[in-house]
Structure formats: structure tokens, C-alpha cells
């Protein structure tokens, strides 16, 4: 090949419009292929050297400085003899004269012209969008404006919960602003994430103090000169000193269109990035290739290669379009998505959730090939899935362990034991306690452990949130082989694989505070549970978050929903509370009057020393309660998984054998404990002497007076399997009775499974377990008692009064009526 020295010939002139990532990458690729081929001139609109635009987020959050994100320094331009005009944008292309004209009036001739004009951020033209303090998130100037405002703290609103918007929100929050994200769709990043991953992401943002409002339609940006807030179409007003509009980008094809090139959504190019003018090329976000426009960096780099091949006159297959993947650039939040993960049609999906680690993976397959993937929490295998997807590799063989990632792909397909066996020794099994596989395996072999509980005890693995217990069991099975017998977990119902204990622990550990949060985080298999799990969850949430969780009526059995007992004919029975079993003429008259007034067919004394009004029509309930309330009576909770009754004998007040005041003790205990929701019904009794006329030894908590004080008995009940109580301890003062009672109830409330009475609970955990916590450990007893009294603050509201006079749940007691016949 004849080599003509550059100095002796006039090199073709390549002019590049756009000093961004796409343009400069193309230049670099050309220099790499043919360093002396062109005389290169670059025009940039921004008055600075070229920088890595995808690093604007770390620049905003303060994790990087501008110098860190510079790609090519001024020296680089000099070394490569590139003429750089920064801050002097080209405003016109004259194709007939083959010159470009810049804003300052400079005319520069070209032989080949490369357009890399990028894209413009979309500004929604709502009223107020031109106010000072409304910015986009596109370049270093935007970041400077944001940082200036953020220096004063204050509220910021980001419109758009997509990739860019969320990065802006996290950055501003890191800079000390209190940030609200407004997002039009039902979940954030809806183009990259499915609803489950969107939910997890919103949760994480919430934990970081970023308020995300979905389905938020902006009506107006409010302010006189500077922005002061954003008003939504539903009327809500969100204060803001700064509004960042991050709703999307639009390819910038203005120059090209003005020059008469073919521009549709973007500048139309072929596979070697040639526009409709053979001497003009275009790369990056400004182009439209095979109908696609791209807003991500990977496609730009692929375009740059094809374009450089062509300009360097190297044979090339050309650019064939990109399959894209997305990662959110927020420290500590790992989100990945690729391809089409919408599912449906002929696709099948693999879903892996590890709620304890906050991991969600969904891989969509079609014809045995990966069609799309969404990863949240653990994105380390994103690249692997993406490669398998781009290669259209048949993954049928890998299918069963695909969700575990590349590390597991070595194991034989479909066997989770091989999968754990294939893990390296330093693979972390228990994230809460940082326990690795090697630690667990050596504990199993050296200490001869055979059960999950033993592993928990020795290593602490799965002893916190418990979400790795499945992995630990697999490790046990893999290590012990046939000697391992897994303990059967009895799920609450078919809606879940979790048992009651797991659910309770996870509600606390993961701070789950609503029914949907539990069902999502704990991977419920039905949309809204069933009649078995919903009442249990409602109780667990009430017990875990007293005063905070709002009782969910639709998840309560009818008796607890309408605060009366349904009978076989659909009528109800009403039992007013009689403290300690005591009543008086005024109450008895009121009960008699109510029975007459509402034609109540049966009046009966109950086993718990109360009066039961049977056969009340549902629609009469509020009026019946109103009359009973008027006489000073409140709900007796004879219908509830709650404190039912405290029976008493007449005690030292009347009885010639009585050793203590059992009636007043019963009244005191009932006043202290009424209204508390429990795993099951809870009955108490107080006897004034060891003759025990109040039958306190078949109660959940029985108090029997002695000469020197009180014996406290627990865990008894009548019923099919009569169980006498066991002696918890002896105490001397009345105050001790109350404290032990409250502490015992609270332990039961916190530990027993829903619909498990104290008798089976104590048989399951052992009396010793209860004594250790309530009797031996005074500090723990005091803490339990305090938690009980705290939860009672919001529990002791008479549900009858709320419904009789305050209109609560009025719909429960009134039938629908005819509006109009057609």
C-alpha cells in the first residue's frame, strides 16, 4: 500500500456536531482504526470538555466530582489534533456548500459530517413550567442549579419516577432536600420494572425518606417568580423550592431536519449510520435506526463502532440494533432489567423471591429462551442473563436452577441440593448474621448437628429473620445425606408456604405494617388471602403495631366485625360487660327493657357470669347497644378472640371463708384487660380462697387467694379437652397480680399462633419457657407489662358506642334499598 505522508496531502475533513458520549466515542473508534485519516473538528454546545453524562447522578449525589467524570481532557483533544469548539453550537448545515455555521458565525467546511446531537429532555408544558427553580436533569448546568438550591435544604419535587427521575431524587435527598417523586403510572420505573420490583423499589426509597406518589397527575407548578409547589389534579399541593422535570427525552433532530435530511422520531440512519445524505452520518440518541430510538449508553457504543468501521473504510456487518438492559445507578439499590418481561402469550416465567434479602428475580422464557428479565436486590447475574438472552441460547437444561444464577449453573439441573453443594465456602447464607456456607457446614460436621434449630443455636444462621432457613435446610440435607429429616413446616393455609411463627417474626423483622405489605413481602400465592390467613394476619399486625396498624374489618370473622355472636338463624346474641360478674338493679332494668323493646326471645345467664340476649336481629344491633350504653354498659366481647370474662366468687367481701377481696380483684383485672385482642379467646377467674368457687383452675389465667397472697395459675380451659391450669408462681401483693397478669397476656399475645389457646400454647412451649420470661426475669416482665399497657391505650374503645352513636361501619347494619325500578 502506498503511504502518502499526511503533510503532503489534504486529509478529508470530518466535522462532528456534538461533543457528547456518542460523538466522542465514534471519534475514538475512528482514531483507533485510522489515526491519521481525518482532520477532525468538534462542535459542542456545552462550554466544557466531554464528560460521562451517565455519571451526572453520582455528580449530583456528591459521590463524584466533575473531574472524575471527564472522559477526554483538553490535552487529549490537542494530542489528537482535534479542533474543539466548545460552547459554540452549530446552528445551520449548508449541504450544498458542505459547510456548517456556528452560533458565533464561524463557517467550517466538511467532507464528512457526523451528527451526534443527542436528545432533549421533555418539559411538560403545564402552567408554571417556566418558573425559576424548574429544571431538567440533562447536563452539568442542571446539576449546578440543583446543587445551588439544595444547599438551602427545603423541599424538592421530581416529576417522573423513571430511571433518571429516581436518580435525581436520590441525589437531591443525599444533598439534604426532602424529596417527593410524582409518578403518573401505578409503579415507579414501569417501563423497566414489573409491579413487584417497582413495589420493592418504592419501599426502599420510602426507607430512605423519599416520598413516592404514584398515579400523580401534575396540574400546575405553582409560584410567582420562583417555584413554591406543585399542585396535582386531585387537588393535593406539594411544596417545593425546586422542581426537576424528568419525564423522558426526545431525539434532537432539529439541525438535520432544517438541513432537509430525513427525520422521523429521530434522524433516520442505515446500518452504517448514514443519513439520507451519503456524506452525513449520525450516531447516538438523536438517531432512529430500524424504527428504534435509544436512550441508553450501550447502543451508542455499538453504533459508534459500526460508524467508525465505515468511516475508516473497514468492512463491517454494520449495526443491527441493540437489545438493551437497564441498571439504576443508585448506591445500595440494585435494579436490573432487560428485554421484554411483560409476559403473557406463549411465555412462561420463573419467579424467585427472597423477601428476607429483598431479592426479586423474574425471568421470562419463550421457546426455551430468555425473553426478558427483571432483577431487584441481587443483580450480579444480570450480565449472565443478558448474554444468554442476546445469544438466544436454549436454557431448557438450566431452567430449574436458572433463578439461582450462574454460580449454580454448574450443579445438575433441577436439584437445589446440588445447587447449594456447588456454592463456594465463603458464599453468604445468612445475610442478617453474616454466616457463610463454610461456617455452617463445619458446625454441622464437627458438632454433629442434625436439625435447623441446632444450626440456629450454634451458628446463628437463620436465627434472625429466618428467610434463609430453606437454604440452611438444604445445607443440612446436602451435608448429612440420607440422615437428614426436615422438620415439617405447616403453612398457615394454601395461600402461603410460611407457618404462623415465620409470619409473625417477619412482620416485626421487616416492619410490615399492612395486609398488602405482608402478602407481597412474604410471597403470598393468592391475590388477597382467604378466610383462614386474613384474620390471622390482621391479628398479627394489630399485635405487632398497636396504635399504628388500622384494623381491617373485611379480614375479621363476622362476630368481630359486628361485635355480636352470629347464631344458627343469622340473628345475633348480645352480651354486655359486667365487670367481674357484678351487676346492679339499674343494669338489670336496662337489660329487661331492651329485651322487651326489641322482642328478644331468649335471655340466659352464661358460664362466664354474664347475661346473654339471644335472637337479636342484625339491623337492631346499634339501637340495642345504644340503650345498653345509656345504662353505662359496654361490649362484653363475648364474640371475640379477646379478653372474655373475669369470673369471681364473693370473696372476703362476703364469704366467711374468704381470705382476699376476690370481687374487687376481678373487677380490677377486667378493667385492665378488657378490649385487648388475643390469638384466641381468653378467660380469667379470681377465687377468694383455695376452695376455688370461681373455677379459676380451668381458666387461661386463674387467680386463687391464699392466706399470704395469691396463687397465679395459667393454661387451663374447659371444652372438649379439659385442661387444668399449671401453677405459674405465688405472689403477695395485688399490684403483683396485675403485673404478672398483664405480662403473661402480652407474652401470649406476642408468641402464640392465631387460634391457639393458652393451653396448647403452653404445652407446645413448656411452662418453663413462660416462667423464665414472666417470673424469673423481672426486667422482661416489666417490659412485657409495659407493652401490654401501651397497646391497651388504643384498644379500650367501646366498639358498641362507636357503632351505636358514631356511625362506624353503618353499612354493616343496613340493607340496600331500591333506588328506582327501570
Amino acid at each position: 500500500m502506498n503511504h502518502v505522508p499526511a503533510a503532503l496531502t489534504k486529509k478529508p475533513r470530518l466535522v462532528v456536531i456534538g461533543n457528547g458520549m456518542a460523538g466522542m466515542r465514534t471519534v475514538e473508534e475512528i482514531l483507533g482504526r485510522a489515526p491519521d485519516k481525518y482532520e477532525i473538528t468538534v462542535f459542542g454546545a456545552e462550554p466544557r470538555v466531554n464528560y460521562n453524562r451517565i455519571m451526572l447522578s453520582p455528580l449530583l449525589s456528591g459521590e463524584k466530582e466533575f473531574d472524575d467524570i471527564v472522559i477526554n481532557t483538553a490535552e487529549w483533544y490537542q494530542e489528537n489534533r482535534i479542533h474543539l469548539f466548545s460552547g459554540d453550537p452549530v446552528i445551520e448545515i449548508d449541504r450544498t456548500r458542505k459547510v456548517v455555521i456556528s452560533k458565533s458565525g464561524t463557517e467550517t467546511a466538511y467532507d464528512q459530517l457526523l451528527l451526534a446531537t443527542g436528545s432533549d429532555p421533555i418539559m411538560i408544558p403545564v402552567p408554571g413550567h417556566k418558573l425559576s427553580g424548574v429544571v431538567t436533569f440533562r447536563d452539568v448546568d442542571d446539576v449546578d442549579t440543583m446543587l445551588k438550591t439544595a444547599a438551602n435544604g427545603g423541599p424538592a419535587v421530581v416529576i417522573g419516577g423513571g430511571l433518571l427521575g429516581l436518580e435525581a431524587a436520590v441525589g437531591l435527598q443525599a444533598r439534604g432536600m426532602s424529596v417527593t417523586v410524582l409518578h403518573l403510572a401505578g409503579h415507579v420505573m414501569e417501563r423497566q420494572l414489573d409491579p413487584s420490583a417497582g413495589y420493592l423499589l418504592a419501599q426502599e426509597l420510602g426507607r430512605r425518606g423519599i416520598n413516592v406518589i404514584t398515579e400523580a397527575d401534575t396540574a400546575e407548578i405553582v409560584g410567582t417568580d420562583c417555584v413554591t409547589g406543585v399542585r396535582l389534579k386531585d387537588g393535593r399541593m406539594i411544596p417545593a423550592d425546586l422542581v426537576v422535570m424528568a419525564v423522558g427525552i426526545r431525539p434532537n433532530g432539529r439541525l438535520a431536519a432544517d438541513a432537509g435530511l430525513t427525520v422521523e422520531r429521530g434522524i433516520v440512519v442505515d446500518d452504517v449510520m448514514t443519513t439520507s445524505d451519503p456524506d452525513i452520518f449520525a450516531v447516538g440518541e438523536c438517531v432512529q435506526h430500524r424504527g428504534q430510538c435509544y436512550g441508553l449508553v450501550a447502543p451508542l457504543f455499538e453504533m459508534a463502532k459500526s460508524c467508525a468501521d465505515h468511516l475508516a473504510e473497514i468492512a463491517t456487518d454494520g449495526y443491527a440494533g441493540s437489545v438493551t438492559s437497564t441498571k439504576l445507578k443508585v448506591t445500595g439499590v440494585d435494579v436490573f432489567s432487560a428485554g421484554d418481561f411483560s409476559g403473557g402469550g406463549e411465555t412462561e416465567e420463573i419467579v424467585f423471591r427472597d423477601a428476607g434479602r429483598g431479592v426479586y428475580k423474574r425471568i421470562v422464557l419463550e421457546d426455551g429462551r430468555i425473553k426478558g428479565a427483571v432483577l431487584y436486590g441481587d443483580t450480579s447475574d444480570g450480565g449472565w442473563y443478558f448474554q444468554l438472552m442476546k445469544d438466544a441460547q436454549d436454557v431448557t437444561e438450566l431452567r430449574d436452577t436458572l433463578a439461582f444464577g450462574q454460580a449454580f449453573a454448574g450443579g445438575s439441573a433441577g436439584n437445589p441440593l446440588d445447587a447449594v453443594a456447588a456454592l463456594p465456602d465463603d458464599a453468604e447464607i445468612c445475610g442478617c448474621n453474616g454466616i457463610c456456607k463454610g461456617t455452617i457446614v463445619s458446625a454441622i460436621t464437627e458438632k454433629g448437628l442434625t436439625t435447623l434449630d441446632e444450626v440456629k443455636g450454634h451458628t446463628k444462621a437463620s436465627a434472625s429473620c429466618g428467610s434463609c432457613s430453606g437454604l440452611v435446610e438444604n445445607l443440612l440435607a446436602a451435608t448429612l445425606g440420607g440422615d437428614y429429616q426436615a422438620a415439617a413446616v405447616k403453612p398457615i393455609c394454601t395461600c402461603t408456604d410460611h407457618d404462623h411463627d415465620n409470619v409473625r417474626r417477619l412482620i416485626k423483622a421487616k416492619e410490615l405494617k399492612s395486609m398488602p405489605a405482608v402478602m407481597q413481602e412474604l410471597e403470598w400465592k393468592s391475590s388477597d388471602g382467604c378466610h383462614v390467613c386474613r384474620p390471622a394476619l390482621n391479628y398479627y399486625l394489630l399485635a405487632a403495631w398497636p396504635g399504628e396498624y388500622v384494623d381491617h374489618g373485611a379480614s375479621r370473622f363476622i362476630n368481630e366485625r359486628v361485635h355480636a355472636n352470629i347464631q344458627k338463624d343469622g340473628t345475633y346474641s348480645v352480651v354486655p360487660r359486667m365487670w367481674g360478674g357484678l351487676t346492679n338493679p339499674r343494669e338489670l332494668r336496662a337489660i329487661a327493657d331492651v329485651a322487651d323493646k326489641f322482642d328478644i326471645p331468649t335471655v340466659k345467664v352464661t358460664g362466664g357470669q354474664r347475661i346473654d340476649l339471644l335472637g337479636v336481629k342484625k339491623e337492631d344491633l346499634p339501637a340495642v347497644w345504644a340503650d345498653l350504653n345509656a345504662a353505662g354498659m359496654v361490649s362484653g366481647h363475648a364474640y371475640g378472640k379477646s379478653l372474655r370474662t373475669v369470673k369471681s366468687c364473693v370473696g372476703q367481701e362476703w364469704c366467711r371463708f374468704g381470705t382476699q377481696m376476690s370481687m374487687s380483684m376481678a373487677v380490677d383485672l377486667e378493667k385492665m384487660t378488657w378490649g385487648s385482642w388475643m390469638p384466641h379467646k381468653f378467660k380469667m377467674a379470681v377465687s377468694g380462697c383455695p376452695r376455688n368457687c370461681a373455677e379459676a383452675t380451668i381458666k387461661d389465667f386463674g387467680v386463687v387467694a391464699t392466706d399470704g397472697g395469691w396463687d397465679l395459675h395459667v393454661g387451663g380451659n374447659g371444652g372438649i379437652h379439659v385442661r387444668a391450669t399449671e401453677l405459674l408462681c405465688k405472689v403477695t401483693t395485688d399490684q403483683e397480680v396485675k403485673e404478672y397478669c398483664g405480662a403473661f397476656i402480652q407474652l401470649y399475645r406476642e408468641e402464640a399462633r392465631y387460634l391457639e389457646r393458652t393451653a396448647p400454647w403452653i404445652e407446645r412451649v413448656g411452662l418453663k419457657h413462660v416462667q423464665e420470661r414472666v417470673v424469673d426475669d423481672a426486667k422482661n416482665r416489666a417490659a412485657l407489662f409495659e407493652r401490654f399497657m401501651e397497646s391497651q391505650k388504643t384498644a379500650q374503645v367501646d366498639p358498641w358506642a362507636e357503632r351505636a352513636s358514631q356511625g362506624v361501619d353503618a353499612h354493616e347494619f343496613k340493607s340496600l334499598s331500591l333506588i328506582a325500578a327501570e
Binding site: D528, C530, G553, S815, A820
Partner: protein, 116 residues
């Protein structure tokens, strides 16, 4: 259903609690109108085929209701008992027009005698 003689308007869907039910009393029986979490509305006779339990008082989950008396579960779509139980709760025709619930009643239910 050929013997429906009248569609009656029993008011807005919003009057029925989510995951709950309301009843409507006809001349001959009571109808339970359910609203599911995904905002579908269904109607059954408010009478469990097992022991006449008031289905409207049950827990609504998915497109099912659990009878409050003995926990039999019925499909709101078909009235069929689920699982090992046999039986079928009587379905009542229902349509939602502009957010209001209309149920289809027979002559007897609106207090008319059959002509023949």
C-alpha cells in the same frame, strides 16, 4: 334466566364495601351483593345451601365467599361450593351500569304473581 321480570337499581357500587357485601330484601328472600378486592360485583341468594347461613356475613377473598356458619367456601362467579364440599348457592343476575348495581328479580321477588 327466563323468569327475570325486572332489573332493579340498588345503588352505587361504592356503597358496597371492598372485600365485603350488602344485602337486599325482596318480597320472598334476601340477596347478598358482594364486592371483591378487584372491584367485581356479584350477587347470590343470601342463603348457604348447607344450613341457610347468611353468606353476606362471610369473609370475601378472591372471587369467593366463606360462609360464616361452617366455613364452606363458594365461588361468587358460579355459586359452586369449593373443595370437598358439595352444593351450590343460588346465583342472582347482576349488572353494573354507570357505576350502579342492578339485579335481576323474578316476579315473586318483586311481589307479582305469575300470570300463568
Amino acid at each position: 334466566m327466563t323468569d327475570i321480570v325486572n332489573w332493579v337499581n340498588v345503588g352505587p357500587v361504592a356503597n358496597i364495601p371492598l372485600q365485603g357485601a350488602r344485602t337486599f330484601q325482596t318480597e320472598t328472600d334476601r340477596i347478598a351483593i358482594f364486592r371483591t378486592l378487584d372491584d367485581q360485583v356479584y350477587a347470590l341468594l343470601d342463603r348457604c345451601p348447607h344450613k341457610d347461613g347468611p353468606l353476606a356475613q362471610g369473609i370475601v377473598h378472591g372471587h369467593f365467599v366463606t360462609c360464616p356458619l361452617h366455613n364452606m367456601v363458594f365461588s361468587l362467579e358460579t355459586g359452586e361450593a369449593q373443595g370437598p364440599d358439595d352444593g351450590c348457592a343460588a346465583k342472582v343476575e347482576l349488572r353494573v351500569i354507570d357505576g350502579t348495581v342492578h339485579i335481576g328479580l323474578t316476579a315473586e321477588q318483586i311481589g307479582l304473581r305469575h300470570a300463568g
